[in-house]
């Protein structure tokens, strides 16, 4: 009869947790099973946490210190859980991109601290009286072994993740100091300088692992790098950055797993790392920009000499709510195209009511969701879902583009660059080649905007001047409410 050592039981629990995590991701592939997927993920995490309390270092410290370790751990865990839950529950759903960014940063910071603590403990153990312990610690502190390298990398990645996430949070929260992209040309020199310093410090930590000060210097430089890499990135590129930071926090966890020899950290960290990388790639493809371009490029301006006036002059047809309602009355198929502006105006509930009013008259209403609309992948989906709009009506770009020629009315609310035909026509534009929603092919286009100010790309939008386009200049929410009122009146 096989009797398992306690370490074997722990590893078994870790294995179960790993399987649950993989299953959680798998269940995320369908809306029907996604909720269960989240429960499985949480269960896996719970199993892992409980199992970790039985690990040898903890048990040994309990024989030496009584229940003290468990009490300290319990207090820390409860504080963390309380803060996390409160943040998640209290923060409005519309602030969810920045919430995810912030939470992500904390995970990165934790990885850096874990590696730092382990490094310190290792140096303390190396001079301990216990010969076996000292010898084991000494093998880890040999320069350029995997312990030193993994520690250096964990410290760096975790620091970059934490500070990058804080900056991302500030930008999404639209805090005044961070709203504008920091495009000072000196930033490339600064980044280069920091990068070189980072490489030097990594070399230093790997060569002198027992000098823990070097580790913390690396963390500080990494922190600066996290800030300087994220500061130049403007609002509409944030979806890419969020995904990238998400991936970093996973990789930091995996690296920490190399440091403390824990395969669960490696597995879970890799799953998260892979997830983030895939989403980053999808975002970049959707914008037809390379990752390097997003991170370091900033935006060029159109080389062509079109000014706003030459595109818009005399061709903008401004309408009122009643006129929009008249157009909608005869429509049998309407497609609504939401953008970041809808999130800002908080118009999703008003949109829902407009859609209901239209559907009551027998009109088909669908929603066209561009992959990078909003500030986070799937941002529009979440907003519309919050307004109780059935997810079957939300159509992906490649799905819905062929249907625009048969669409009577396309209502663009708060979206700009994702419907800008210049991407198709002008090869020198910042958004050249970016796949867009072909709203200009609909019979009538109604654009709801506060003014003719450009979107994130900073270029004029020929859609606004097109013959079949009507502009309704108003706040998104008020505009939709007024249209709905007119529609129901007449």
């Amino acid at each position: 009869m096989l009797s398992l050592s306690s370490q074997a039981w722990i590893n078994l629990a870790y294995l179960a947790a790993s399987m649950l995590f993989i299953m959680a991701f798998k269940l995320m592939t369908s809306p029907r099973t996604a909720v269960r997927g989240n429960y499985l993920g949480a269960t896996g995490m719970a199993i892992a946490i409980i199992a970790a309390c039985f690990e040898k270092p903890v048990l040994e410290s309990m024989t030496a210190n009584g229940t003290w370790p468990l009490i300290l751990l319990g207090i820390a865990a409860v504080i963390g859980a309380a803060i996390g839950t409160t943040m998640a529950v209290k923060y409005p759903m519309t602030g969810m991109p920045q919430m995810v960014a912030l939470l992500n940063g904390f995970g990165g910071a934790a990885s850096t601290l874990v590696a730092g603590a382990e490094l310190f403990n290792m140096t303390v153990a190396a001079s301990s009286a216990d010969k076996v312990l000292a010898a084991h610690a000494a093998t880890n502190l040999v320069p350029w072994t995997q312990f030193a390298i993994a520690t250096a990398l964990t410290g760096l990645i975790g620091a970059v993740t934490f500070w990058g996430s804080l900056v991302a949070f500030a930008k999404l929260e639209e805090l005044p100091a961070f709203k504008k992209a920091w495009t000072h040309p000196s930033r490339h020199m600064i980044n280069l300088g920091l990068a070189i310093t980072t490489v030097v410090l990594i070399w230093a930590v790997c060569s002198y692992p027992d000098q823990t000060l070097l580790y913390w210097l690396l963390v500080i430089v990494g922190s600066c790098l996290g800030c300087t890499l994220t500061m130049p990135i403007g609002g509409a590129d944030m979806p890419v950055v969020i995904c990238l930071l998400n991936s970093y926090s996973g990789l930091a966890a995996a690296a920490a797993g190399f440091v403390i020899d824990n395969s669960l950290l490696v597995i879970a960290g890799s799953l998260v790392g892979a997830s983030g990388l895939i989403l980053t790639a999808i975002m970049c493809k959707a914008m037809n920009r390379s990752l390097v371009g997003v991170l370091f490029g900033g935006l060029g301006t159109c080389a062509s000499t079109t000014t706003d006036d030459s595109i818009y002059a005399g061709k903008i047809k401004s309408v009122s709510a009643e006129e929009v309602a008249m157009v909608l009355e005869g429509a049998s198929r309407v497609v609504i195209v939401p953008g970041y502006g809808m999130a800002v105006a908080q118009a999703q509930h008003a949109v829902r009511e407009l859609a209901s009013a239209l559907e009551k008259r027998g009109t088909t209403v669908e929603y066209a969701i561009h992959p990078v609309a909003g500030r986070m992948p799937g941002h529009m989906n979440v907003l519309l879902a919050e307004a109780d709009i059935p997810y079957e009506k939300l159509r992906e770009m490649d799905d819905i583009n062929p249907t625009f020629p048969e669409t009577d009315v396309a209502i663009v609310i708060g979206a700009n660059d994702v419907v800008n035909p210049a991407a198709r026509i002008d090869p020198k534009c910042p958004i050249a080649g970016m796949p867009i929603l072909d709203v200009d092919k609909a019979r009538t286009v109604i654009v709801i905007k506060r003014s003719l100010s450009p979107g994130f790309a900073g270029i004029p939008n020929p859609l606004f001047a097109a013959d079949n386009t009507l502009m309704y200049f108003a706040d998104g929410k008020k505009a939709i409410l007024d249209i709905t009122a007119s529609l129901e009146k007449g």
Partner: protein, 113 residues
């Protein structure tokens, strides 16, 4: 049946794992997990990308396991302090992450009307 136990006895006789083997073992796990991750996550549809980002964010709080082991060992005051701080931060990540994902997904569940 002693001959079946031979590999285990030999392994014990070889002594504790050397760093290179440990690295290769963890590297194996890393690469396999990345591959599984790519294969599974490639199939998540666009509309679920936000819960995916949020859910994977929650799972990246797995660092809490490492923090528990490092802090619980009580090896040194500084190390324990850092470890406990890491536990707090990682738990914020874990609890907040799963809660946010839950709230998001609650909005996606098939509605009454």
């Amino acid at each position: 049946m002693p001959h079946l136990l031979l590999p285990y006895l030999l392994a014990d006789a070889a002594g504790p794992e050397d760093p290179a083997s440990r690295f290769i073992r963890l590297l194996t796990v890393f690469l396999l997990a990345m591959w599984v991750g790519f294969e599974v996550i490639m199939k998540v549809p666009q509309r679920l990308h936000t819960p995916l980002t949020s859910g994977s964010n929650a799972i990246s709080g797995i660092t809490v396991v490492g923090a528990i082991v490092v802090a619980g060992a009580l090896s040194s005051s500084f190390g324990t302090l850092l470890g406990l701080l890491a536990v707090v931060l990682a738990m914020i990540n874990v609890a907040g992450g799963f809660m946010v994902t839950h709230r998001m997904l609650a909005m996606f569940s098939p509605k009454k009307k």
